[in-house]
């Protein structure tokens, strides 16, 4: 059998501006995981010491996570295999558990596929789903939301922040409206956890899903917050783990790694991150403007914190996404042509389509940058230089052909 060759020299040494797709693990997180894999390998559900030790690590981690979103109790945290599982569970299981109360669900047109696909499946089963439209900034209107809300609405699932254009949804306002309504309120916080100060009590959030690999944590671990009193059957059935709300042997090393990643993101660290990332956005806009690049932001720049500070989606007029992305890749800069999570596809973005209509040139001529902990101002400068050079070069080729 041929050994797969994996070594340290193979690391891609490039500028990585695709942190909304995934992030590298923080060294502290990896160290935590290595330690737990080597030393706390008992099954957390077993009776004896090794198992109890694993159980303790898991419960301490759960406490850290519960505190990070101001959950009332750590029992409200269910560990999952990631954002997709959290979204699928919250949506499908809520719908099935509550169909006697109504079959209406409200969401937005720009949710992640992990929300949209389960909703499509529910529509096939007779549920009625309202997709709130967005404006050219990627924002929904509260009036639309109020108008869509019905007595038989059982679930509202609206993301906290969008992964492609970075628009933020009015979560607090929606929570206020829903607090006296039967509908449960779920939010996909995969892109905002670790960036914003989330408070599920302040915002009256009933369910919230996250994914660790977006915040320099391990892959395929996440949590689903579920307010006390919100109950639905588990999506994955089996043993009694997670208080029967998610079966499967607990992934203690990854849970500990996730808690470590969350712990590193103190309110101060998040504030610093937002300020730094917003600065990068301004640097890009100023740099491209100064270099005479003809571009527009898909969404809006806004003030710090107004949109997701790590996501910037830009329309570079006249240059196709594919061409720009490959040219940047050749120059050693990784950006996204939309959302990486639409596995390898270069289908038109449903988010840009919702914002600008399917005929807009923006759909085929936009790229998404997303910043991470390792991103530096020098890297942003290199990005700006390269985009400007590519634009010039392509314009020149273009005129020569003419």
């Amino acid at each position: 059998m041929q050994e797969i060759h994996i070594d340290n020299s193979n690391a891609v040494k490039e500028i990585y501006l695709d942190n909304a797709a995934t992030t590298p693990m923080a060294p502290e997180v990896l160290a935590e995981m290595m330690d737990k894999m080597a030393n706390v390998y008992g099954n957390a559900s077993t009776l004896y010491g090794l198992g109890r030790q694993a159980h303790t690590v898991m419960e301490n981690s759960r406490q850290v996570i519960a505190n990070s979103i101001n959950a009332a109790s750590d029992e409200e945290i269910i560990f999952t295999s990631g954002g997709s599982e959290g979204d699928n569970t919250a949506i499908t299981q809520t719908a099935l558990a509550r169909q006697s109360l109504g079959k209406h669900i409200i969401t937005t047109a720009i949710e992640h596929e992990a929300v949209l696909k389960p909703l499509h499946a529910l529509e096939e089963q007779g549920f009625d789903v309202t997709y709130l439209p967005v404006d050219e900034h990627g924002d929904i209107s509260l009036d639309d939301f109020k108008a869509a809300l019905r007595d038989d609405t059982i679930l509202v699932t609206i993301m906290m922040g969008n992964n492609e254009v970075g628009s933020r949804m009015p979560i607090h306002e929606i929570g206020e409206i829903l607090k006296d309504h039967q509908a449960w309120f779920h939010t996909d916080a995969v892109q905002t956890y670790g960036l914003l100060d989330i408070d599920v009590q302040r915002d009256h959030i009933d369910m919230l899903s996250t994914s660790a690999h977006k915040i320099n944590g391990p892959k395929m671990i996440g949590f689903l917050y579920k307010r006390e009193g919100i109950n639905f059957p588990s999506l994955i059935k089996g043993g009694d783990q997670e208080e029967k709300r998610r079966a499967g042997t607990e992934n203690v090393p990854a849970i500990a790694g996730f808690a470590k990643a969350a712990e590193l993101l103190t309110p101060e660290a998040k504030a610093e991150k937002r300020a730094r990332f917003h600065g990068f956005k301004e640097q890009v806009v100023k740099g491209l403007t100064d270099n005479g690049v003809d571009f527009e932001i898909n969404g809006s720049l806004g003030d710090e914190g107004e949109n997701l500070d790590h996501v910037l989606n830009i329309w570079i007029k006249g240059i196709s996404t594919y061409v720009m992305q490959t040219n940047l890749d050749l120059a050693g800069i990784a950006v996204s042509g939309g959302s990486a999570c639409t596995a390898g596809s270069i289908e038109p973005s449903h988010v840009l389509t919702a914002m600008f209509g399917e005929k807009s040139p923006r759909i085929a001529e936009s790229i998404r940058l997303s910043f991470g902990q390792q991103t530096t101002s020098d890297e942003i400068a290199t990005f700006v230089e390269n985009v400007s050079a590519i634009v010039k070069r392509l314009a020149k080729n273009h005129s020569e052909v003419k």
Partner: protein
């Protein structure tokens, strides 16, 4: 320390942890991304998939990654039920399945499916005749485990395959979580099976990763919908470090499998033949070829399973009550119940489960401690 609880979970091998760390540090891109980070991650993902496929004699496209055994079982069962509902609503399984299978079936029952649970004999095994008799025109799925996690019974997979050859449209799922690397590959990867599920942490890979073999051409509905990873069948950003580590663990596991299996069998029998000489001991996984080489379940009459587990722990020997999932609740083993073992004796059952690293010296030490404890227990009674 003697760790005899490998059916609950195993310790990740140092080489495997090393792979996890290297991939985390160097190949952390999202395999779906269309840039070098993504391309490099994608290549490693597919290499790992190929390695696993080669190791079990499958095709590249037949390997799908999951978050573990439980997800795989839920998926094979509910995914089949959803995909094949229009052809029928009857499912067949056994009375001795892991809760991941059993509870998936129970859920489907509530959703209007009909489930037949095949009974087992005194060794925890179903019969091919019962299976044949249970099949109806509306049967869409048969789910049978390879190796029982509580007593180590190996189901008659060859005979089940024979029966199901006459019903080519029925999906056959095997939960092989306890069966990998135990000398059973020929039985598990037979030419009839459609879905086989595995969990990495049972063979020294990390937690939270597993895989499913899905025969080419068989259809299954996704349990996890979204970004369309895993050929649009299992969404969620791939756990590449764990996947590469699992490929490594599987290669290590299957390297010299025959010798490893023999060693585990010898250890199992050394303990079995020792403890069976004590009058209060009942052996559930007997010295018969229908039992897997690594699991031994027995009871000491009059002593609760938990008491036995804790007593061994005092000697730094780790065994378990019948399975980790039910360890915390005070329920008797469902497998023993299905075997019609008296409740009184079932509560006294414990399980020893071996891996390829256990030694005969450990068995000797276990037997020595057993003698000591047995005398103590006898005094209590």
């Amino acid at each position: 320390m003697i760790y005899f609880d490998n059916s609950a979970t195993t310790k990740a091998a140092p080489e495997v942890v090393d792979t996890y760390a290297k991939v985390s540090a160097n190949y952390w891109g999202n395999p779906s991304s269309l840039h070098k980070f993504g391309e490099q991650a994608f290549n490693l993902l597919e290499q790992s998939r190929q390695q696993i496929a080669d190791l079990i004699g499958a095709k590249l496209s037949e390997i799908l990654f999951t978050s573990g055994g439980t997800e795989g079982d839920n998926w094979a069962i509910k995914g089949t039920a959803m995909a094949k509902r229009e052809f029928g609503n009857h499912l067949i399984t056994t009375e001795v399945e892991h809760p991941a299978v059993h509870n998936s079936m129970e859920q489907l029952k509530q959703d209007g499916f009909e489930v037949t649970y095949l009974p087992v004999d005194e060794n925890g095994r179903v019969s091919a005749a019962d299976l044949r008799a249970a099949i109806k025109p509306s049967t869409i799925l048969v789910s049978t485990m390879a190796v029982n996690n509580e007593i180590g019974a190996v189901q008659p997979l060859d005979e089940i395959a024979d029966v199901l050859r006459d019903f080519p449209r029925i999906h056959w799922h095997i939960d092989a979580v306890q069966g990998i690397g135990k000398g059973l590959a020929d039985k598990i990867f037979n030419d009839r099976v459609d879905f086989v599920t595995f969990s990495g942490h049972k063979f020294h890979a990390p937690r939270g990763i597993g895989f499913m073999y899905k025969r080419q051409g068989r259809t299954i509905a996704p349990l996890m919908a979204g970004g369309g990873q895993e050929r649009n069948l299992r969404s969620g950003t791939e756990n590449l470090p764990a996947i590469a580590a699992m490929a490594k663990a599987l290669r290590l596991l299957l390297d010299g499998e025959a010798d490893k299996v023999k060693r585990q069998r010898d250890i199992r029998l050394a303990i079995l033949h020792h403890v069976e000489t004590f009058p209060n001991v009942t052996i559930f996984s007997k010295d018969l070829p229908v039992f897997a080489p690594h699991i031994l379940c027995f009871a000491i009459a009059g002593v609760r399973g938990e008491t036995i587990v804790h007593a061994f722990e005092e000697h730094d020997i780790y065994i378990s009550t019948t399975s980790a999932c039910s360890s915390k609740k005070h329920v008797e083993s469902s497998t023993l119940q299905a075997m019609k073992v008296d409740d009184g004796i079932a509560t006294s059952a414990v399980r020893i489960s071996l891996d390829e690293h256990n030694t005969m010296a450990e068995a000797t030490e276990f037997n020595r401690v057993f003698d000591e404890l047995y005398t103590q227990f006898a005094k209590l009674n």
